[in-house]
């Protein structure tokens, strides 16, 4: 599955790079490097929303770096194990 993280300036300032690092760490810990692919994206146009724009395949979410662990449990794991 593909996780796309917006790297536009607004998301950068909201912590997009921290989110990438956190996701990378969790993916490594859970041995999912072969199954989850992280990718950057141009500005998704949701700059005024609180949180970084992230797409799981084509579904859009807005996340703060501190939400990542929970989000991984709730959304990503469900999709990976599906």
């Amino acid at each position: 599955m593909e996780i796309t993280i917006c790297i536009g300036s607004s998301c950068h300032l909201k912590g997009a790079r921290d989110i990438v690092a956190k996701l990378e760490k969790i993916i490594e810990e859970k041995n999912l490097t072969d199954r989850i692919h992280l990718k950057g994206a141009f500005c998704m146009g949701k700059c005024s929303v609180e949180g970084v724009s992230i797409k799981l395949d084509d579904e859009l979410f807005y996340l703060k770096p501190e939400d990542i662990e929970q989000f991984f449990q709730d959304e990503i794991m469900r999709r990976v194990s599906a």
Binding site: G8, S9, V20, E24, K39, G40, F42, C43, G45
Partner: protein, 484 residues
Amino acid sequence: MLDKDATIVSVKHEVLYQVAKHAFAGDLEEKRDQIPFDIIPGPQANFRCCVYKEREIIRQRIRVAEGRSPIQDKENRNIVQVVESACEGCPINRYVVTDNCQRCMSRKCQQACNFHAITIMRDKAVIDTQLCKECGKCYQACPYNAIADLMRPCKRSCPVDAISMDENKIVVVDENKCIHCGQCIKNCPFGAIMDRSFMVSVINLINSGLPVYAMVAPAGEGQFGNASMADLAEGIRQLGFADMYEVALGGDFVADSEAKEWLEAYQEGKKMTTSCCPAFVTMVKKHFPQLEENISTTVSPMSAVARLIRAEHPGAITVFIGPCIAKKSEVIESITQDNADYALTFEELDAMFHAKGVELQASNAVLQQGSIYGKKFGASGGVTAAVLQAFKEMNAEVDAKVAQCNGAQECKKALLMMKVSKLPEDFIEGMACEGGCVNGPGSVKAEMQSRRDRAALFSKADGRGIRDNIAPYYDKYQISLHRK
């Protein structure tokens, strides 16, 4: 520019300039809707049917300049974007019988056509466009070369057959095939294909006060007349960047690292390709996936310098600036690889200079971070020459043969040979642009026009060796030069 249409270049520049100007001023949000009227004041249209269409094209171009898809509800992930309102749908039928037709007795065209699309009329053969499947058999069969192949320029320029038409004859770029080489962007006579830009993001980050570092590709020398790397660095600092690095220094790192890799591969009898041209790398990944493990694991020069900058300045935001559109895809694809944060083209840099009123002044100041070998990385044959120089400096005796693939077509041929294990050479130097990066689609000047200034600037470079040049950095920072 010689190989680009001057009018299209100026329209694209005007849009980038206006967007950059308002982004620097921080009022892009309020002024965005005003820009089409500033560029197309009317009431007379210049190139299209009316000012309303012209303004709509500008609106779509603004969106691409801001990094989005041209139409709000038709977002896609492509880097190469089709500005639909600017695409004329080129209403040309691919095969047309010209006046050269002799109305000959053999009727080879008619016999060659499997679709009964050809009728011999009183003056010449005629192709029924409703029946024609554009197979090209008649074109090959005509003994008088009387049938013309009028392929659309975008499609003709694409080396990987990624371009097709929708039902309205508007161009569609297949992201699963596209290698982001930028040839279609360069070749569309209506400027209807554009590359998304990180320019506004970079300007916003500069405005936010964070330390943003520029890294300028070796193809930059000569792009801005006789401005040297030191003069470019001065102009770039005036834009608000913290400082500028030469990517030629990354070229030195890569040459040294690839020399070591090649040496190993050569002894094992394994064939290998270079990894610095992102369009070439994407060509391997998307069109020759079985050869992916033959790509050198050394990172690109851009990536090497980004890692170096982060080691020297923790927290730095790194921005590559070069002639390349495919670098934008490298940035997006390798967010976990400690690569550059953003990539811009020289066109975008030029618009930023214009927007900020920065005029580059040729001075006597000197800035040389890369060796002359690193500086020549951006021309076809340059990577090979640098790796061979690194062998020499290592005192390694290697009789390696290198297929120097100049342009995407040659890359494709060599990869095909490699795929069937018939490549006579040991290594492939892959560069998707003919002539190398110096002819990249994001340049402001074609190689022909920058050649003289480039040669003059190179003649001032000192003769330092590759390994001596990078040794101090290695000792200090222990940067990894391989993909994670």
